[in-house]
């Protein structure tokens, strides 16, 4: 009996003291979303939308003015350009009613595309008498969230594209640069110069700020996993920097380059519902997907 207790104690100490060795396995490159012989290569892809319901990826192929859908194995499904009318699309969502909302930088619009009705309706928005410059878009249920690059705000829209609320960062010099909406409707937003993440509840009220402890960071995008770990995309260094719930640096991985598993001017990071980490790699013209 005593021997058994000693044995268990030793294992307990071993496991507890060396949790690093039993940390989650390293991320490994699994697949890429890129073109094929039929649709050609991607040029300067800028963002990714993941349709949980249909189990599809949509890549915004900005340089080719089109949207490309893939199944979750990376197989190309369709390439869509709205009859070649899209002008520098940079982000998109598919809302709960199946409408596509595309941000077109060339026209400075949020463009509503109803595939069933075959209509394309570009909308220029104004908020507080100022023209909105849409940068990123997210949705949850019937709510649409839009990042205004000029004001650095996040706007809440209904499905008629009317702005009903906004959140901003009073202390941020340049406002936010990216945001994510959790499945519970909470909002996390990234302040680039401040190197901090700002947490808001689903009414848009400020909850807390988490300062990221890494002076070498030039973050352009981020995501949060279910355990509250933050993944920050460092565009200039082409790497991903991981922080714990308190903003303490955990580890970095990847780096600049052109082979699979290396990044060149990445623009966006997203965790997919299948536990994989997706990075939109603009310079290499693909979306790299990592799993572990």
């Amino acid at each position: 009996m005593i021997l058994r207790i000693i044995f268990l104690l030793i294992w307990g100490i071993f496991l507890g003291g060396s949790h690093q060795a039993f940390a989650a396995p390293a991320w490994e490159w699994q697949l890429s979303l890129n073109g094929n012989a039929q649709i050609g290569i991607l040029q300067f892809p800028n963002s990714l939308f993941i349709d949980h319901e249909k189990e599809r990826y949509y890549v915004v192929d900005s340089g080719n003015n089109r949207l490309i859908s893939f199944d979750k194995t990376g197989k190309v499904l369709t390439a869509f350009s709205a009859n070649q009318s899209l002008d520098t699309p940079v982000d998109m969502i598919r809302d709960s009613s199946g409408i596509l909302w595309v941000i077109e930088r060339g026209r400075n619009t949020i463009t509503k595309i109803d595939l069933k009705a075959k209509t394309v309706n570009p909308l220029q928005l104004k908020y507080q008498d100022q023209l909105v410059y849409p940068g990123k878009i997210e949705s949850l249920g019937d709510k649409i969230y839009l990042y205004d690059r000029s004001a650095g705000n996040i706007l809440f829209l209904n499905q008629e594209a009317q702005i009903i609320n906004s959140i901003s960062c009073n202390e941020c010099k340049s406002g936010f640069v990216d945001f994510k909406v959790t499945s519970a409707g909470e909002i996390w937003a990234l302040g680039q110069e401040e190197q901090a993440l700002y947490h808001f509840n689903n009414d848009g009220n400020f909850v807390k700020k988490i300062v990221l402890n890494d002076p070498t960071l030039f973050p352009v995008s981020f995501d949060i996993d279910t355990s509250g770990i933050f993944y920050l995309l460092n565009r200039h260094e082409g790497n991903i920097v991981v922080f714990d719930q308190e903003g303490r640096l955990k580890y970095r991985f990847l780096g600049k380059g052109h082979v699979h598993g290396r990044l060149s001017y990445p623009t966006e990071i997203r965790l997919d519902p299948w536990g994989r980490l997706c990075v939109v790699d603009e310079g290499n013209g693909r979306v790299e997907i990592f799993g572990r």
Binding site: I41, F44, G135, S174, H258, E282, N284
Partner: protein
């Protein structure tokens, strides 16, 4: 008799020690090196104690001036407490290079901190040769040669090695209430002083910068009106910039509210672009300091012109890194012949690693790398075999 001999012996011994001791006081170095040259108001502690050999080997040494270690290593061997601090934030170039003696003299100086030269300003102007030394109207600390009143000579957490944020520094001598009286029409608290005033001097009274923004010289209302806000306010006149804001990558998102004033002064400047911070490079550093710092540490670097706009379209571009072209066009502007004889590049030549077009920046990283010609990997083998695997 024996007693007498003992006394003589003791006296001789005393005289011997007296002579020896007096010789020890006389530093043998000063037999050749003029002692007066080492006697000024401020003397370096080892020299004061006559410990020349703490730094110099009198016979033979690896380094110039018979020094036993590299300049930086020597300084930090005593000033250890400074080493960590001097590697943080914005660091003065001589400190980065470990060239302490560019500013300090190692033996004696008439200036505190063993600063070389006759004045602090003289020491600064030895390197900062492009800075005007005189203006018709000068800021008092500048005309007094007190550069260190505003600049921290080793390192700082502020650009241009300022001791604090400019607006905070200004109010230490110019109280807020005084500023308000002098800027009657300024809405709210007076701030952003350097957007109008040059901190060294100017041709204009009150140190107003040389070139005025046309609407500013006409009055405030042209821009400061309730319905004129944000970047749109600037684009009303600077129409060509609007198209840039529709580019895939652009700088619209910097400085919420109005991105233009993150780089340009809306009131007055020293060049026709009314750039803030005097030099373009200093503006870019405000956000991209890491890029500059990384480049500094590289062994092989592109010639530093300090003019980022030679390659980057800083308002907006459809290319990554806001390049002015596709990574070939920009390079062949200067490297004219490379476009013809180098590794094939262009639309028809694909990089097998990502199926993208081969350009100069496929292999070179112009800001700097540790490989010759600013190659991304060693050109002897590693870079080539990324694609030419059978070699």
């Amino acid at each position: 008799m024996k007693k007498f001999i003992d006394i003589v012996f003791l006296i001789s011994l005393f005289v011997f020690f007296l002579v020896v001791n007096s010789q020890a006081d006389e530093n043998p170095c000063f037999k050749c090196h003029v002692k007066d040259d080492f006697e000024k108001e401020y003397v370096h502690a080892p020299l004061k104690k006559g410990l020349c050999t703490d730094c110099h080997n009198p016979h033979v040494a690896r380094y110039k001036s018979l020094l036993q270690k590299k300049e930086k290593d020597f300084c930090y061997s005593c000033h250890q407490d400074k080493a960590e601090k001097f590697s943080q934030g914005v660091v003065h170039q001589p400190v980065i290079e470990g060239k302490c003696l560019i500013c300090h003299t190692p033996h004696a100086s008439k200036l505190k901190g063993l600063i070389g030269g006759e004045t602090i300003a003289e020491s600064c102007f030895n390197c900062h040769k492009l800075l005007p030394k005189q203006y018709p109207f000068e800021h008092k600390p500048f005309s007094d040669g007190q550069c260190i009143k505003c600049h921290s000579p080793h390192q700082s957490s502020n650009l241009q090695l300022l001791t604090n944020q400019p607006d905070i520094m200004c109010v230490t001598c110019h109280p807020k209430n005084e500023l308000k009286v002098k800027h009657k029409n300024y809405a709210g608290e007076v701030k952003l002083c350097l957007t109008c005033h040059h901190p060294h001097g100017s041709d204009r009274k009150f140190l107003i910068r040389k070139i005025l923004h046309q609407p500013y010289s006409n009055g405030c209302q042209e821009c400061h009106d309730s319905d004129k806000q944000g970047a749109k306010n600037c684009i009303r006149c600077h129409i060509s910039i609007e198209k840039k804001m529709s580019s895939l990558h652009n700088h619209l998102s910097i400085n919420k509210g109005n991105s233009c004033v993150a780089c340009h002064s809306p009131h007055a400047g020293d060049d026709k672009y009314l750039l803030l911070n005097n030099r373009q490079e200093n503006i870019c550093k405000k956000c991209h300091l890491i890029t500059f710092d990384n480049a500094k540490e590289r062994i092989y670097k592109h010639v530093d012109s300090g003019i980022c706009t030679n390659c980057h379209d800083v308002h907006g571009s459809n290319e990554p890194a806001m390049l002015k072209g596709d990574g070939i066009d920009i390079c062949v502007k200067c490297h004219k012949t490379q476009g013809q004889f180098s590794h094939p590049v262009g639309q028809k030549v694909r990089d097998i690693r990502n199926d993208q077009k081969m350009t100069c920046v496929t292999c070179h990283y112009p800001h700097g790398t540790d490989y010759k010609y600013e190659l991304k990997l060693s050109g002897v083998k590693d870079l080539c075999v990324q694609c030419h695997r059978s070699y």
